[in-house]
Structures are given as structure tokens and as C-alpha cells.
């Protein structure tokens, strides 16, 4: 998102926040529009329209799966249907009005739009009318995982697009870099959360408008936080009038986020460690400076976006969960992961770490081995969530092993330190912990940011002058 995008969205948020009861539908319309508006260019031009459409379609299908007949009534959901289809139609009509600079370069012919809507309506009818076997939620959950793996694996995506491209006579020059499904990483997590929670009867009843708003809520659509549906919908249902303090907090958060992203992060990007600098720099001291610059850059960039999302949501009277709480000032890795991209780690804790731990405990596996397996596998999956590459896998394993070692060290020390430390000793211990944790995390970023593990190893050798 550019600063201009955010400025426009902030104005939209200001207006939506003033709408009282009509806030929900206005928010829905803007969110659907933003899904189209922010979709980046694609190798195949038509995908600029169809990928956002797929986002909306997937969301509505999931709602049809989790909704009960009582909540699916036309009367209740017709306004939402009209808003969603209306926005999609307006975007499609772009071709007749020439608003290319506003949202996109290419939209399908009207008959194609009509055909797509009709086909979707037919699928929706089948989902509603046909009996629903119990495995359908698990199947949908698995399908989203497979879709996720497919999209995050460069080999699969590149092969598919190269194949399609060859069928179309090599229309696109470089399909490798020209495909992205904006926001899918986050949407997938929200969809899986609702499917799973519906299965275990933890999900509240959600109307179409509430559900779509939750999944594609425009402030958090592209970069989180990953809220929980039951928390989000409570905020949505009570259009709270903002008090003076709320306004101050919302605007402060928004401007702090803009400053972090567009001043600090973008400036640090110029000196953050990258593939080129690894080759060009030989001094270990400079390598450390550039590595720290990367660590700060990724923090300011990501937490800046979170601040912007929280600020925008707050302007509309909706509180989003926190995603970062000074992670680089934490004295150990566990606390770091409790304060870095918190909503992601909470999601994995709920839907991956805890179930696996419970499963292993029932099988009499030794505790240290359970900890090793669960920590490494959880962090590995978190790594692969960013993309199925060796670099992300190694980054995940690095953190998994780090968490395991820290866990064992804590156990080891706990049994040996009998009396509380002197305050100065405690301070020194905390400072050392912060220093070690920050450096451990920074070294881990090498696997995350550099294009190959070989480059990461080269960087490690230069950092330690080996």
C-alpha cells in the first residue's frame, strides 16, 4: 500500500466511522472495493479482476458452509448481497468509464461477469440445498491448506503459469514474478479459523455481511493482524461513538504507523542487508550494521502496517488485536515470539501447536522430545507459511531449535538457582538476554531475507570473519 492509498482509506474510515447503523454495509462495500483496488498487476491481465473475485467467492462459499439456515435468510442478507455484487459490477464497469488509474487496467466483458455471477449463484444454491456430509468442513479446511501450499510454492505456480502461457502462445514474457493473490495468506487463516471453530461449535452465528467484513476487513486485509471472528464481530455489532481519547489514540496510531513504514522502514531499506551487499561488503563490522538495519527495517515495516491497520480500524470504532509489543526488547526467544506477529503465533498455537502437543502427550512420548518436535514443527510451518523455500524452512528450524534450547536452558537453570538474584544481577541478566535474543533473531533473518541458503552461510562467515 502506498501512502496515497492509506490517505484515501483513512478518509473512507473517517466517513464510515460516522455512519452509525449503516457502518456495517458501508464497510462491506469499501472492503470489497479495496480487494480489487489493491490487487497488483498480473502476468495475465485478466487475473487482476479474477483473483479478487476469487477472494470474494471463496469467502462467500465458506460462509455458506458455516452458516445455519436461520442466518441464511434473504431478508437478512439481501443488502449485503446487493452491496457485494454492486461493487463487483461497478469495478467491472470500469471498462466503460475509463477509470483505469483509479483501480485497475482491465476488467472482463459484462457478459462474462454475468456468467460468473450466475455460475456462482448455482454453486451457492447447491451448497444450500444439498445435504451436507460431516466431512465437508474438514475437506474445505484441507482444500484451503492445499491451495495455500500450491500458491506458496514457487515451483508449482511457475510451472502452471509457464504451461498456461505456452498454451496462449507465450503471451507473457516472465510469468515467474507476475502472479500474486493479494491477501490470501491472511484470508486463508481467517477462513480456516472459522471452519474449524464452526466444527467444534465455538463460532458465533454470523450474517453474510459480518462474515465477509471479518475476512476482508480492509485495514487488516493485506498484512493482518489476524483477528478472531467472535472478537471482531462483537466490535462490529456495537458501533461505539469515539470519545476524545479514542480519537487521539486512533490518529496517533495511524501517524506512528505511517512514520514507521514510510520514513523509518523505507529509509532503512537502503542499508538493510541484501544479496548485493553480501557480495560487496567484506568488513564484519559493516555486515553487522547492515544486518541490524535489516532487523529494524522488517520490524518497522511490519509493525508500521499493523499500527496503520489498528489506527484505521479504530477510526471506525473497531479495535483490532495487537500484533507487536516491543519484540526486540524481550529477554528470551519465547517472549520474543509472544510479542512478534502475535496474532499469527496465537493462531498456530491454537490450531497446530496445542493439538500436536495433546496428541503426543497421549502417546507417552518423553517431554523433551515433545517440546523439540512441537517447537520445531510449529516454527517450520510458520516459516513455510511465508513461502515454500529452503530459506524459509531453515528460518523456521532456526527458531524452533532456538526455542527448544531456550526451554531446556530455563529448565536447567530453574533447578539450580535457589535464591532470587540481586537487582543489579537481574538487570545484567535481562540486558544479556535482550542482547542475545536480538542477535539470535537477527542472524535468523539471514535465512529469511537472502535468496539462497548458500548466501546466508556466506553472510554468516563474513559476520564472524571466518
Amino acid at each position: 500500500m502506498t501512502a496515497a492509498n492509506i490517505g484515501i482509506l483513512a478518509l473512507a474510515a473517517l466517513v464510515i466511522g460516522q455512519l452509525g447503523k449503516r457502518r456495517e454495509l458501508a464497510l462491506l462495500g469499501v472492503s470489497v472495493f479495496v480487494v480489487y483496488w489493491l490487487q497488483p498487476p498480473q502476468g495475465f491481465v485478466s487475473l487482476v479482476y479474477w483473483m479478487p473475485t476469487a477472494t470474494i467467492a471463496l469467502t462467500v462459499i465458506c460462509w455458506l458452509l458455516i452458516s445455519t439456515p436461520e442466518v441464511r435468510g434473504w431478508k437478512q442478507n439481501l443488502p449485503a448481497v446487493l452491496v457485494i455484487v454492486g461493487v463487483m459490477l461497478v469495478v467491472d464497469l470500469n471498462q466503460y468509464f475509463g477509470f483505469e488509474k483509479i483501480y485497475m487496467t482491465s476488467t472482463p466483458r459484462l457478459w462474462m461477469f454475468a456468467l460468473a455471477i450466475t455460475a456462482f449463484a448455482f454453486i451457492a444454491l447447491l451448497l444450500v440445498k444439498l445435504p451436507r456430509p460431516s466431512f465437508i468442513f474438514g475437506a474445505a479446511f484441507t482444500a484451503i491448506i492445499f491451495l495455500f501450499i500450491y500458491l506458496k510454492t514457487p515451483y508449482f505456480v511457475n510451472s502452471t503459469f509457464a504451461w498456461i502461457n505456452s498454451l496462449r502462445g507465450g503471451e507473457v514474457e516472465n510469468t515467474r514474478v507476475m502472479f500474486s493473490w493479494l491477501g490470501f495468506s491472511y484470508i486463508a487463516f481467517r477462513l480456516m479459523h472459522t471452519l474449524r471453530d464452526h466444527q467444534v461449535d465455538r463460532l458465533p452465528v454470523l450474517t453474510l455481511s459480518e462474515y465477509v467484513n471479518y475476512v476482508i476487513f480492509f485495514p487488516s486485509f493485506t498484512a493482518g493482524p489476524i483477528d478472531r471472528a467472535e472478537r471482531f464481530v462483537k466490535e462490529l455489532r456495537v458501533p461505539a461513538a469515539l470519545a476524545e481519547q479514542d480519537w487521539a489514540e486512533a490518529l496517533t496510531r495511524l501517524f506512528v504507523g505511517l512514520f514507521k513504514k514510510f520514513v523509518l522502514a523505507d529509509a532503512l531499506a537502503l542499508i538493510a542487508l541484501n544479496d548485493v551487499l553480501i557480495e560487496q561488503v567484506s568488513s564484519p563490522a559493516w555486515m553487522w550494521i547492515f544486518l541490524y538495519a535489516y532487523s529494524l527495517r522488517i520490524f518497522f515495516d511490519f509493525s508500521g502496517y499493523t499500527d496503520i491497520a489498528i489506527g484505521l480500524a479504530r477510526i471506525m470504532g473497531i479495535r483490532l488485536p495487537e500484533n507487536f509489543t516491543s519484540p526486540y526488547l524481550k529477554p528470551n526467544l519465547t517472549q520474543f515470539w509472544n510479542s512478534w506477529h502475535m496474532t499469527l503465533t496465537q493462531w498456530f498455537r491454537a490450531y497446530f501447536f496445542n493439538p500436536i502437543t495433546r496428541a503426543l502427550r497421549t502417546k507417552n512420548v518423553p517431554v523433551p522430545l515433545i517440546i523439540l518436535l512441537t517447537q520445531v514443527s510449529t516454527m517450520l510451518v510458520i516459516g513455510l507459511w511465508h513461502g515454500v523455500t529452503w530459506g524459509f524452512a531453515l528460518w523456521g528450524i532456526w527458531h524452533g531449535l532456538g526455542l527448544f534450547i531456550q526451554n531446556r536452558w530455563t529448565e536447567f537453570v530453574r533447578g539450580r538457582i535457589k535464591s532470587p538474584l540481586h537487582p543489579q544481577g537481574q538487570l545484567l541478566l535481562t540486558a544479556s538476554g535482550i542482547f542475545l535474543t536480538f542477535n539470535f533473531v537477527s542472524l535468523g533473518w539471514l535465512f529469511f531475507t537472502l535468496s539462497t541458503p548458500a548466501l546466508a552461510l556466506q553472510a554468516l562467515a563474513k559476520l564472524f570473519n571466518l
Binding site: L270, L277, Q280, V281, S283, W286, I289, F290
Partner: protein, 368 residues
């Protein structure tokens, strides 16, 4: 709290800061991390392709000569025993594809020359890679703030061409200086119809945002520059062809159209004026001389023989008329020592040129 009121206050504050900036016009380019936090650059910040800025650790800031000069080692205090020579010119003097140690400036410094009065001669490369003499004069004017003792001005025919794109690119940000030059030296041919002094609104923070952004980015590029010592992305290049086309056309037009009196040779006298009392040595820089087919018609891709031969004669006359010491070194560098263009030389070519210029420089040091 009323959000609209907050926005209104923020807008009012922003407007106030903008107006104050336009009124006081602080010279932001003088705030620099170079020469104190990191070492100064040995050439003016420049990279021709935007995607290579992060690789060459630089960004051109031609809109702000203060920023250009403050990032350069020339802005370090002058030593008592130092005799400063500024090299002005285009991409061949800036030296594409050649390191600062290997280029003409570096080769001259390696000779460790002494001026007539015994001072160490230190050469500074203040060239900016555009073949455009009007830009050179502006740089010479600015360079006088950095205590020069002599100027070495390397030119080629292409630099005397009037080009509107260069007017926008390099002259417009210095409208007052350019218009003053036109008045002072009665420059009739320099195209200044689009050159205008910026309005008050263009001087606000909003109006200056692009320039300010570049100045900030230049400072940030200082760290990787200091870490790597790289200020250029050294690209692969194809050797020049010895074979030439049979076209007689030049960028100045065909033989019937060319009249050097209507080109920028008049700028030479402005250059002479810009350096004041300091000695100025004008050098017609070496070009690639092809020896393959049609080399009897053209020297290279840029110059057919007819115009280049005329140019040499005209430049020599003009230099004499303007009282500028002149050195014509057009063919002293062998064809094998040119790299990716008929003007860009290899390190060996640079060394050869340095040795050939040295006697004239030493002579001139005795003139002041």
C-alpha cells in the same frame, strides 16, 4: 475531540511549515553525512539507471549542487600545501566503467605532481556525466566555493549541442544563475526559453519534496558507499565496432545545415569567466577512431569525419579568441583503449592521457 478540527489544525500547521520553508529557503544540501560520518565520494553522485541505485550506492541529485558538492571529498578543508585542480567534463571524465583510482583524476593524483610554488597538486573529479558545456560552467561556478587553483575542462563536440532535454534536466534548477550567465556573456544560442525562476509555491516543502527526498537518500547511500567503496555498477560491455556506417549525418544535422556559430561554443567565454582568475586548461578529449569499413567517412558512431574535423578547427580558433589555453588530444588514445562508447577509456587509456596532459598542467601552475 472533533476529528475534523484535528485535521484542520494539522493542515494549518503543515501549511505554516511549508510557507516558512519557502520563505527561509534553507540550504538542505549542505547537511551531509559525508566527510564526517563517512568518507566523501571521489566523484559526483550519479547512476544512469534507477534500478542500479542500490547496487552502485548512489543517486543523482543534479537539482542540488550543494548536496552534490557536500558529498564529495572536495568539500573537505583545503590543506595549506595543497594546489587544487578541478576536472570538469562529461561521462568520460567522470569515468564510466573505471574506478576513481584508475580514471584520469586518479592517474593524475598517482603522479604526485608538484606545482611551481612547491605545493602538492591534488586533482578532484567534479565532472557530471552529461555532455553539455552549459552544465560544466555551472559546476565551475559552484566549484569556486571550494578554493580551486586551476580548472581542467575536458570537452567533446557533442557537448556543444543545444538540447532542450538538458535544459530541463540541468539548467532549470539553477534558473537565476543561468539567466545571469546569459546576460553577462550575451549567450544567444543557449536555449533558455523554458528556464524560469521557481515560484514561491515551488519553493515550499511540497514543491521541493522530490529534491529533499533525493538529498536524504543520498545520505543513506553514504553507509553502503563507505562499506563497499563502490559508487558505480560496473557493467559488462561489448567492444566498439571498427566498421562504421556510410552515413554522413551527425547529431548536429547534415553538412548543409551545420553552423557552429549557432551552437554552444559561445559558452566557452562564460566558462572562462566562471573560473575568474584561476587558470583554465581546455582539452578536446580523445575519441575512438575506427579503422574498419567506412572509417574514411566516420570516426565513430557519433562523428562523421567532416563535422569532427571542422569542429577541431573551430574549437581551436574559439579557444584562442576567448584566451583559453587549449590542448587538442583527440587521437592520442589508441582505439583498443576505448570501452563501451567512443569517449569512455580503459585504465591504460586514462594513464596515457594523464601523462600527456601533465606538462600543460605544470606549465599553467606557474602562471598564477
Amino acid at each position: 475531540m472533533n476529528p475534523w478540527r484535528v485535521l484542520l489544525k494539522a493542515f494549518a500547521l503543515y501549511a505554516l511549515v511549508n510557507l516558512a520553508f519557502a520563505y527561509f529557503q534553507p540550504s538542505m544540501g549542505n547537511f551531509s553525512v559525508y566527510n564526517w560520518l563517512v568518507q566523501g565520494r571521489e566523484r559526483m553522485p550519479y547512476e544512469r539507471e534507477i534500478e542500479y541505485y542500490p547496487v552502485s550506492h548512489t543517486i543523482p541529485v543534479y537539482e542540488d549542487m550543494d548536496a552534490m558538492f557536500s558529498s564529495h571529498i572536495v568539500s573537505q578543508p583545503k590543506q595549506a600545501d595543497e594546489y587544487r585542480v578541478m576536472l570538469v567534463g562529461d561521462s568520460s571524465t567522470w569515468a564510466f566503467g573505471v574506478t576513481p583510482q584508475e580514471n584520469l583524476t586518479g592517474q593524475l593524483n598517482a603522479l604526485k605532481l608538484k606545482a611551481c610554488d612547491g605545493r602538492r597538486i591534488v586533482f578532484y573529479n567534479v565532472a557530471f556525466p552529461l555532455p553539455y558545456v552549459a552544465k560544466d560552467v555551472l559546476i565551475m561556478q559552484k566549484a569556486r566555493e571550494y578554493e580551486p587553483d586551476m580548472f581542467l575542462w575536458l570537452v567533446t563536440l557533442d557537448a556543444f549541442r543545444n538540447r532542450t532535454i538538458y535544459t530541463d534536466y540541468f539548467l532549470s534548477p539553477y534558473a537565476e544563475e543561468v539567466l545571469s550567465l546569459v546576460d553577462d556573456y550575451q549567450l544567444k544560442n543557449l536555449d533558455t526559453k523554458d528556464v524560469r525562476v521557481s515560484s514561491f509555491w515551488e519553493q515550499t516543502l511540497i514543491g521541493q519534496r522530490s529534491r529533499l527526498k533525493k538529498i536524504i537518500l543520498l545520505q543513506l547511500h553514504g553507509l553502503p558507499w563507505a562499506a563497499t567503496g563502490l559508487d558505480y555498477y560496473y557493467r559488462d560491455w561489448d567492444p566498439l565496432s571498427q566498421d562504421q556506417s556510410d552515413s554522413l549525418d551527425s547529431d548536429f544535422g547534415n553538412p548543409d545545415e551545420v553552423n557552429f556559430d549557432e551552437t554552444l561554443f559561445e559558452v566557452l567565454r562564460a566558462g572562462k569567466g566562471a573560473v575568474g582568475e584561476d587558470p583554465l586548461l581546455l582539452v578536446n578529449e580523445p575519441i575512438f577512431v575506427a579503422s574498419g569499413s567506412n572509417s574514411d567517412i566516420r570516426y565513430n558512431d557519433f562523428y562523421p569525419r567532416w563535422i569532427y574535423d571542422d569542429y577541431r578547427a573551430y574549437l581551436e580558433t574559439q579557444a584562442r579568441v576567448d584566451g583559453i589555453p587549449y590542448l587538442d588530444l583527440w587521437d592520442v588514445v589508441p582505439a583498443a583503449e576505448f570501452t563501451d562508447s567512443p569517449f569512455h577509456r580503459s585504465p591504460a587509456g586514462e594513464k596515457l592521457l594523464a601523462n600527456l596532459i601533465t606538462p600543460s598542467i605544470l606549465n599553467l601552475t606557474c602562471s598564477k
